[in-house]
């Protein structure tokens, strides 16, 4: 069952706190989703504008992260649907972000590339579960899909990632 509730909230918003708390991780998530730094920056800006303009509708602190993630994912989806959405070469997009040449970085590079290659619906659940550390129930709220669907997508996404990353990030 889907559950997103946003009753009244009268406490004033501290946008600086929200940006500090969630901004960088949102930017990185949007980059992995959209595969473009500039689009990711625009998406984060759009997300926080929506948060700022609609904050009065929130219920409690514990739901803020879930709600912000929902907005961010929907913004990213809208970007992908837009007519000017372009195909990008993932490796080139990632190469725009400087990195050293250590073994750890190469390993991290492989993980990031594999996540970027996932189809959007698998990428969403992987990013929300592993990166944003949301629970299945919260992801269900963010994506407005049943928890069982989230679980199924996670399973399939892990299977796809597991082929390349078995024994690396995944134990099974």
């Amino acid at each position: 069952m889907f559950s997103i509730s946003v009753p009244d909230r009268n406490t004033p918003m501290d946008i600086s706190y929200l940006v500090a708390e969630y901004g960088d991780s949102l930017l990185r998530m949007c980059f992995l989703y959209l595969k473009d730094i500039h689009l990711a920056e625009d998406a984060v800006q759009d997300t926080f504008l929506k948060v700022y303009n609609n904050y009065s509708q929130f219920k409690s602190e514990s739901e803020i992260k879930t709600w912000i993630m929902r907005i961010a994912i929907n913004v990213c989806k809208n970007y992908r649907r837009s007519s000017w959405w372009k195909r990008v070469v993932i490796t080139e997009a990632l190469n725009e972000i400087p990195a050293d040449t250590s073994l750890e970085t190469q390993q991290d590079n492989t993980l990031v590339l594999e996540i970027m290659k996932l189809s959007p619906k698998y990428k969403e659940v992987i990013l929300l579960f592993y990166y944003q550390e949301l629970k299945i129930q919260e992801i269900s709220q963010v994506l407005n899909i049943p928890e069982s669907t989230v679980s199924t997508r996670l399973k399939r996404a892990r299977e796809q990632l597991g082929t390349k990353l078995k024994g690396w990030y995944f134990d099974d």
Binding site: M1, F2, S3, I4, S5, V6, P7, I15, L18, V19, A20, G23, D24, S25, L27, R28, F31, L32, I37, A40, V44, Q45, F48, L49, Y52, N53, Q57, R81, I97, A99, T105, Q107, D108, L111, V112, I115, S119, K121, F129, Y130, Y131, E133, K135, I136, L143, N144, I145, P146, E147, S148, T149, S151, T152, L154, K155, R156, Y169, F170, D171, D172
Partner: protein
């Protein structure tokens, strides 16, 4: 359970240079103050409905796929649908979106899948990876199969919404299963009179599992940590099944636990255990899926399935342990996409009301060909099927509903009850909700 921080850390480490500027929050505040509040345009559903009523028969005559669908569903149902007739072909398989319809909250899409080169599509076809943009899926169901042309007609039900009316949506299929094999009434041969009473166990975090089901599931989830059988303490094959085996059996907290290990490579292998006795009584278990890490600890996964039977151990000698198992012989991937504008259903009936149910107040009900929608507020406990909803038709028949879905949106609760085939709205006489009656004519 070590992979969660490692993936997060790896992403943060590789993308560390990606940071928002220090004045980002100030920029947001300035932009927000310079921007007027956006308002969604009013929907023009009524106009779209009118157009649809006029256009359906004309368009239907020109689209072969739609005419074929007409022969498979009753004419009155087909007349409610919007003919689409868009085709996508890939990997020797043709997908055609034949017809679609959308109401306030639900969309139905009929599509056909035809194998142009082989026999990969049969009546057991099961869409595995599919989507409709802007919607979340509920179900896909084969409603017809033509042996001669190897064409399956499939109905998708999704949660749509009136804001999608007149909008472009894309129906996509990326993979499907077929050649389904069913193994029913499989005898496990487990002697239930000789079940270990103190088997080796391990702990399972119920907050880190992909899912499960059954009467005890919520109770177990509330415990957060439960005991399950230690995995792989036995390796008992199931007769005729090469994709699953029993990996342990024992009594835990006085309940019979039977652990299944999924050993096959099929992408959707699954099955169900049950106890049955000579009187025909059948007891279904609560089941919980989990995986294990390299050290034998439980973790998120679905390699194993713990089946927990809520039955007195003293009665076990009266029962046999059996199971039904399912696998698919074919998994086909491809890319089939079509984009079209979805239109609204032609008829809806709405009524304001005030019906108090347990922890929920229903304020409005609507009827469309796609089902019954209850709109209210509160915190209803339990699934939607605890509310008894039925429709009395003018001819005296009563329609009940096989499936339901609950949404929460902006403090509202919406429960949608969907029939197997569209409702004929003009023939609805009464709507019954837990004994409350709303009369329409």
């Amino acid at each position: 359970m070590t992979e969660i921080p490692s993936i997060k850390n790896a992403i943060d480490a590789r993308l560390a240079p990606l940071k928002l500027s220090d004045d980002f929050a100030v920029i947001i505040q300035k932009q927000a103050n310079n921007t007027g509040t956006m308002k969604k345009p009013l929907t023009v559903a009524a106009l779209i409905c009118l157009c649809l009523l006029i256009s359906v028969p004309v368009m239907a005559a020109t689209i072969p796929g739609f005419n074929a669908l007409l022969s498979r569903v009753t004419p009155e149902i087909a007349q409610m649908l919007q003919p689409i007739g868009l085709v996508a072909e890939n990997n020797g398989i043709k997908m055609e979106v034949v017809a679609a319809m959308n109401d306030e909250d639900t969309a139905v899409v009929y599509l056909t899948m035809q194998d142009l080169t082989g026999n990969r599509i049969d009546k057991s076809i099961d869409l595995y990876d599919y989507s409709i943009t802007g919607m979340s899926m509920f179900t896909s169901q084969v409603v017809a199969y033509d042996e001669r042309t190897k064409t399956a007609t499939i109905r998708l039900l999704a949660n749509g919404g009136s804001e999608l009316n007149g909008k472009k949506i894309t129906v996509g299929v990326d993979s499907f299963l077929s050649a389904r094999h069913e193994y029913t009434d499989v005898k496990t041969g487990i002697d239930l009179t000789a079940i270990p009473k103190d088997p080796e166990k391990m702990l399972l975090d119920m907050n880190n599992i992909p899912g499960g089901g059954g009467d005890l599931f919520e109770t177990l989830r509330e415990k957060s940590i439960i005991q399950v059988l230690k995995n792989d303490q036995m390796n008992r094959p199931l007769p005729g099944i090469d994709f699953a085996q029993i990996s342990n059996v024992g009594l835990v907290d006085g309940r019979l636990h039977v652990q299944i290990k999924w050993t096959g490579t099929g992408i959707d292998d699954h099955g169900f255990l049950y106890l049955t006795n000579t009187a025909g009584e059948v007891i279904h278990p609560t089941n919980v899926s989990f995986g294990t890490d390299a050290y034998g600890n439980t973790q998120y996964g679905d390699k194993y399935e713990e089946n927990i039977f809520d039955i007195d151990a003293g009665q076990l000698d009266q029962f046999k342990l059996k199971g039904d198992f399912f696998t698919n012989g074919s998994y086909v991937q491809g890319k089939w996409r079509t984009t079209f504008k979805i239109a609204a259903v032609s008829q809806t009936k709405q009524a304001d009301c005030s019906i108090d149910l347990e922890n929920m107040k229903i304020k409005r009900v609507s009827i469309s060909p796609l089902g019954i929608t209850l709109l209210g507020s509160g915190q209803p406990e339990g699934p939607a099927d605890k509310i008894n909803v039925a429709v009395a038709m003018l001819d005296g028949s009563v329609r009940k509903f096989e499936s339901a879905a609950t949404y929460r949106d902006d403090g509202k609760i919406i429960i949608k009850y969907m029939p197997d085939s569209p409702l004929k709205v003009e023939d609805v006489r009464e709507l019954h909700i837990n004994g409350n009656v709303i009369k329409y004519k």
